[in-house]
């Protein structure tokens, strides 16, 4: 039987370590390498010119490499669902191969294509090569829920076997066996579009700092591994002025588009380390960046709402401000803080910024200063950042805005001091905001504090030539730290004074040795909880958090809970309401995200937000509490642990339920919405008539804590 293969490129734009492509070639009579994109949607998509340019260059490079093997890349215009039926017939395709896409949107798209292929009698082969590990395996090993702290993730990964070894690049010989005749009008039909064709204006476009493509990626990999560079990086991880600039050894955009295989990078690092250090196994920290990527992929793979706050079970609901004006100033680099503006300018011009710079601007936009939702920032990064993966981008934004993943929030990056620490000279600022170039070092991070004479001498008067700072950072961070505390103390139900009251589970995640026992005790298979337990979990939820509240209510339903517990991790999610086909299908490479949600909170139905299920949630949460004496802090660890446990458990439950309940989502919302009971009183417990069991429980728990 004749085997006509089509390999569908989406990410994974490379010929090395491409297992799905190898499958396409294996015993085939013809092979066509296809990339599908819809120029019509290109302009509409939230993807900036630098990212498109990078993609087109990567396709160009792929086509060139294929040419060398006497083959070509077929760039087909249209949507996968429209294009494939035609192609499958026209080319008499019998085998379709592509790389596994672990992102929820991708899984859905691929599911549809596989179904279609099946109807056409076409065999589909899917191989995992965008991530190091099989993500489902990690989830399975964490009792069927994705690990939510990096530590936990590392622990699980360290128990896994090493990632699969990379495959060699495809060879001339392999290709020769399935030589496919190219039509004379191939270039006419299947050429790579230009930026102009996609609707971008290219006059005055500066040359790319980051050139797309596999060849460039492999060049960079060699430089990256250059002994000296690498050893230096490992031993001096400190950030300095140099690290802020685009580095010729940077790899992140190449990993994003799959121009470089993460496994190739992994094994190269590993071998180099073993050669240099003469130790048998390198520490996990060696693979930091790769593992973070993997971590976020794992957290996102079964969560189609990973990129939003609403309906996202792992995301803390924070009452962000809607402030389009502030958002625009931030996005366009007009905040009046040179450090922030320089970073945003670099991002817009070059498509890449250092990870600490990302932290700085993300913190500034969200919890640090502007109190604008991380979702808005994420969308800006999605447009501009070359290496913005759907999962990694959303995950990092949640991380940096302290919306998930349990990290400390007491510390905000200072938009003046942080920059100055990193680059005391201010040269970085001068490069990206040339109007400030004549400012003395002393004032370059805070030009508004320069005396007028200095401003005039530098030919840049603040308020005239460069904006005044849009916010008083000291005041802004004071307000915001209070707000974060409000949110988190309600979450953990912690009533003490801890300034460090970070997200509740840090301790717990780190503390117990990761034995199987400790896992099962908190895992979904644990025995059904007693009523007291679920009540307590209910109490420990935040009035601010609609999802948390949902969980607490639903925890009271044995029937729903059971459904949740039985939810198999591998079951493909079914809720597709949020993922619209159209704009998501722009190209297969970018199209990993649904369009911006239409302000879900604004629907007329959802007018009131759920509140605390009990009247004992802390409203005057943050500081003084009559029940806390200085001694209490010391007993904190214990107490928090228990509560954290419950919170987390209820979170988990919530996670599962949100899948199982997906079909009745609409109904559930309307029930949640009017949960108006006030989280009125907490501080002055003695005032409250203790007519609720719960309220009696609370103080006693507190005392118990103190006695320990």
């Amino acid at each position: 039987m004749v085997v006509n293969s089509v390999h569908w490129f989406r990410k994974g734009l490379r010929l090395h370590d491409n297992p799905a492509l190898q499958e396409a070639l294996n015993g085939a009579d013809t092979v066509r390498c296809v990339y599908i994109l819809d120029p019509w949607f290109a302009g509409a998509a939230n993807v900036g010119i630098n990212r498109w340019r990078f993609l087109l260059e990567a396709l160009e490079d792929l086509d060139n490499s294929l040419k060398k093997l006497n083959s070509r890349l077929f760039v087909v215009r249209g949507q996968p669902t429209d294009v494939f039926p035609r192609l499958l017939k026209e080319w008499k395709v019998t085998r379709l191969t592509f790389e596994y896409d672990p992102e929820p949107y991708g899984k859905e798209r691929d599911g549809a294509i596989m179904k279609m292929a099946q109807e056409f009698g076409v065999e589909t082969i899917v191989r995992n090569s965008h991530t190091l590990y099989n993500l489902d395996r990690i989830i399975e090993m964490n009792n069927n829920s994705p690990p939510l702290t990096f530590k936990r993730f590392q622990t699980i990964v360290s128990r896994l076997e090493l990632p699969r070894r990379p495959l060699p690049p495809i060879t001339q010989q392999q290709m020769d066996k399935c030589r496919t005749k190219m039509a004379d009008n191939h270039d006419q039909l299947y050429s790579i579009p230009s930026l102009e064709e996609l609707g971008f204006r290219t006059e005055g476009l500066p040359p790319a700092i980051w050139q797309g493509g596999e060849s460039e990626a492999l060049d960079r990999l060699n430089k990256h591994l250059d002994k000296k560079v690498w050893v230096a990086n490992l031993e001096h991880p400190r950030v300095n002025t140099c690290s802020l600039y685009a580095s010729p050894t940077g790899l992140s955009p190449y990993l994003r588009f799959g121009c470089l295989s993460c496994r190739v990078l992994y094994y190269n690092l590993r071998e180099l380390y073993m050669k240099l250090r003469k130790r048998c196994s390198p520490p996990l920290s060696l693979f930091g960046q790769l593992l973070w990527r993997e971590f976020f992929y794992t957290a996102a793979t079964n969560n189609p709402n990973f990129d939003r706050m609403d309906g996202n079970p792992i995301c803390v609901q924070i009452p962000w401000d809607q402030n389009p004006e502030a958002l625009a100033k931030w996005a366009e680099g007009r905040t009046g803080f040179p450090w922030i503006d320089a970073i945003m300018t670099q991002l817009r011009q070059e498509g890449w910024i250092h990870h600490l710079a990302r932290h700085a601007v993300a913190c500034f936009l969200t919890r640090g200063d502007l109190w604008v939702s991380w979702e808005s920032g994420m969308r800006v990064f999605e447009e501009l950042l070359l290496d913005a993966d759907w999962s990694v981008n959303a995950g990092s934004w949640m991380w940096l805005s302290c919306s998930a993943f349990f990290q400390q929030f007491f510390h905000c990056y200072c938009p003046v001091g942080f920059g100055r620490r990193t680059d005391p000279s201010g040269d970085y600022i001068r490069r990206y905001i040339p109007i400030l170039k004549d400012y003395p070092n002393r004032y370059i991070y805070e030009p508004w504090n320069a005396p007028e004479s200095v401003q005039k001498a530098a030919n840049c008067v603040v308020g005239v030539n460069y904006p005044k700072p849009m916010i008083n950072h000291a005041e802004g961070s004071r307000l915001n730290i209070e707000r974060m505390k409000q949110v988190y103390q309600q979450l953990s139900h912690y009533r003490g004074l801890s300034l460090l009251a970070s997200v509740p589970t840090i301790q717990e995640e780190a503390e117990p040795p990761m034995t199987d026992e400790s896992q099962t005790s908190s895992g979904p298979d644990s025995p059904p909880r007693g009523p007291a337990d679920s009540e307590a979990a209910g109490c420990s939820t935040a009035p601010d958090s609609s999802t948390v509240c949902a969980s607490s209510t639903y925890a009271l339903h044995p029937d729903l809970k059971d459904k949740g517990d039985n939810y198999p991790s591998k079951k493909p999610y079914t809720s597709s309401g949020s993922l619209t086909q159209s704009s998501a299908a722009i190209t297969s490479t970018f199209a990993s995200h649904p369009p911006a949600p239409l302000s879900p909170a604004q629907s007329p139905l959802s007018r009131s937000k759920p509140s605390s299920p009990s009247s004992s949630c802390p409203t005057f949460a943050e500081s003084p509490s009559p029940t806390t004496a200085p001694t209490q802090t010391s007993s904190l660890g214990q107490r928090r642990k228990g509560l954290a446990h419950k919170v987390r458990r209820s979170q988990r439950q919530r996670g599962r339920q949100s899948w199982t309940l997906a079909p009745r989502e609409g109904g559930r919302k309307s029930e949640e919405e009017e949960r108006e009971e006030a989280g009125g009183e907490e501080r002055m417990e003695e005032d409250v008539e203790q007519d609720e069991e719960r309220m009696e429980e609370e103080p006693s728990e507190e005392t118990a804590g103190q006695q320990q």
Partner: protein, 448 residues
């Protein structure tokens, strides 16, 4: 109990389902009521309903019903109230309306939902006299804050015990015309007469309105939080401290703090203070701050030996001059902006009661000696967090060793720790874990 609740909810859902299927929702709910009421005869009529019919729900004693209702979110209670007259009465029981949190958000400025205006009307009409613990959460829009004031000024016949005005985004109460805000607030002060807890941070409250508060609520007031209220003067807060002898918790800005205030709070008539929270914020760079006498602090500690002094600093480095030159009974210290090595050195010398310390940022020189000094002198220190600072690994290990297991919170960014000849980054977590008696890791940031 729980089963009841869940059955109950299921029933409500069932009802909701019927409603969805029925084009005239008005019909369906009485029908359900009937089903429940005429339970004995119509068993077979609705299969789903029958499971509830055996349990004689309508005759459930009010106390039990109340108990159940307390577990239900408001909307569920509202559904339930449509089941029968008895349940409808239960819905309006005063006990269920003691606490209420008004959420006032505009779709344009908030992602969160708001309390429905009809519900607000209902509450004002039927339940305002039941309200005791009330809070208002408003988003960044002035409209929301004004709406909150409008509601406040209608709460004439209620006696609130606690009131909280909470801005969830920007301090929007500050945008409300001061007179509007003050008149709304004084309505509550005058009518309630037994306020015990009041949280009005970031609002335009002023001295005269505090006088009204004192005149009406001096016997009951226990908690007052009013950080960043620019219209209050030191004299205004002093008047509160002088008259409200039951005041146990107080939060305010440093500019309101005076020796007189501390002495008033430590007078014999006054109960022991439990918490004092002070925000030290600089409005403009180079601002000068007054000092508080050591003798005033001493008086406080004598009077309230266990009180917590929580201080948040948001200052430029060069504004710390007046602070930490003398012993100060601070227990919780938060440095929100960069603070110099020198100031931290003074903290180590003069803060013997320190329990928690957060340093968000510091210069480029390691904080080695400062930390060790803190470990030596602050014998109650149990929590520390370091942000943009540097500490050498061996000094850090030494610090942990000195503090030992009482360090229940140790939140250190990985970048803070500088490897040295003794410890690498890989080794430090073992060493620190050993001294803490539990597994510890530095906090990590995504390298992305």
């Amino acid at each position: 109990m729980l089963n009841l609740t869940s059955l109950f909810l299921r029933m409500k859902r069932m009802k909701g389902g019927e409603e969805g299927g029925d084009s005239s929702p008005g019909n369906s709910s009485p029908e359900v009521c009937k089903k429940v009421r005429t339970q004995n005869t119509e068993d077979s009529e609705a299969g789903v309903a029958s499971e509830f019919l055996d349990s004689d729900w309508a005759r459930l004693p009010q106390e039990l019903l109340l108990h159940i209702f307390q577990y239900l979110p408001l909307l569920d209670r509202a559904y339930a109230s449509q089941v029968c007259r008895g349940w409808n009465q239960a819905f309006h029981m005063p006990e269920l309306w003691r606490c209420f949190e008004f959420e006032l958000n505009q779709p344009a400025s908030s992602y969160l939902k708001a309390t429905h205006p009809d519900l607000i009307k209902q509450i004002i009409k039927r339940h305002s006299n039941h309200l005791q613990y009330v809070s208002f959460k408003v988003d960044s829009s002035t409209e929301s804050a004004e709406a909150a004031c409008d509601i406040l000024s209608q709460l004439v016949n209620c006696s609130l015990k606690t009131l909280g005005l909470i801005s969830t985004a920007r301090p929007s109460f500050m945008e409300v015309p001061k007179s509007h805000f003050i008149s709304a607030l004084t309505v509550v002060f005058v009518n309630s007469k037994s306020l015990s807890s009041l949280k009005i941070d970031d609002t335009p409250v002023d001295d005269p309105s505090l006088k009204v508060l004192v005149a009406n609520n001096s016997d009951t007031l226990k908690l007052l939080k009013m950080s960043s209220c620019p219209h209050v003067s030191p004299a205004g807060i002093l008047c509160v401290a002088d008259q409200c002898h039951g005041l146990r918790e107080l939060a305010l800005n440093y500019h309101l703090l005076s020796d007189e205030l501390l002495l008033a709070l430590s007078s014999e008539k006054h109960v022991h203070l439990e918490h004092l929270r002070i925000d030290v914020v600089s409005e403009n760079p180079g601002q000068h701050f007054h000092t508080i006498k050591k003798s005033s602090w001493d008086a406080m500690v004598r009077h309230s030996p266990k009180f917590n002094l929580v201080m948040y600093f948001f200052l430029y480095e060069d504004e710390f001059g007046p602070f930490f030159n003398d012993e100060i009974p601070v227990t919780h210290l938060y440095f929100g902006r960069s603070v110099s090595k020198e100031v931290l050195g003074r903290v180590g010398l003069h803060c013997p009661r320190l329990v928690e310390l957060v340093v968000c940022a510091n210069g480029l020189r390691p904080l080695d000696e400062e930390l060790i000094r803190i470990a030596k002198h602050c014998n109650q220190l149990s929590a520390i967090g370091l942000g943009e600072c540097e500490v050498s690994c061996s000094a850090f290990v030494e610090f942990v060793k000195m503090c030992g297991r009482r360090l229940s919170q140790l939140s250190i960014m990985e970048e803070v720790l500088i490897p040295d000849h003794k410890y690498s980054l890989d080794e430090i977590h073992w060493e620190v874990s050993k001294h803490l008696g539990r597994v510890w890791f530095p906090d990590m940031m995504p390298t992305w």
